[in-house]
Symmetry: C2
Subunit: 135 residues, 2 copies
Amino acid sequence: MLVRKLADIRASDANVKSDGWESARMQLKKDGMGFSFHITTLYAGAELNLHYTNHLETVYVIEGTGTIEDLGTGETHKLEPGTMYALNNHDDHILRPETDIICACVFNPPVSGREVHDENGAYPADLDEEEATAS
Amino acid sequence: MLVRKLADIRASDANVKSDGWESARMQLKKDGMGFSFHITTLYAGAELNLHYTNHLETVYVIEGTGTIEDLGTGETHKLEPGTMYALNNHDDHILRPETDIICACVFNPPVSGREVHDENGAYPADLDEEEATAS
């Protein structure tokens, strides 16, 4: 059994900060659960165009409000505590937090912890496999 | 993209109630994400001996306090907002919520939505596969 506290993860190098968001990677690929689990903060006023072409992601809003625009359909959905969205089609999307949003995020395949979004808003495919191929 | 609201799931047949807990199955096997995602309430004063022999589960506490006893090691861990535990070894455990606890739960493989705990505190293996075998 693994037991971890958000405050400890936020104080560790498993807390990743970027432009408009930060993410506490509570559980990663190395934990062998088949998915990773992050507690992510989206900062008020950010506009985040994300497109996870290599991952499926489910997000559950714990605190805060904003919107998500589905660039495939043109629809905009309200985000508020109790909203879940699942990117089951690698959906290209824009997040617009109105307040700071705290959300739980699940990635399949699991993130290794070293990924940052590339210029297209994606995380790369499995870094371990890429490195294994390169070496 | 799938977008769902906790209040809608709680009012639907995807909300499962049992003795000492209830669970809103926000995302199930049929959604094709490779994991299921539930918002579960553990009621104050319950004592839940659970042992998922067929699943891995990660739990993140959003609200409330209590304890989890790891029956493999004898250790008891405090549960409070920001605590995550992962049953990476199909750990036999007892949950003792002191207040109502609301938590996000992720199951791999995904739950189909029809499972109830058996007499050993487990969910059965994949019901679709069992039914396919039986038919």
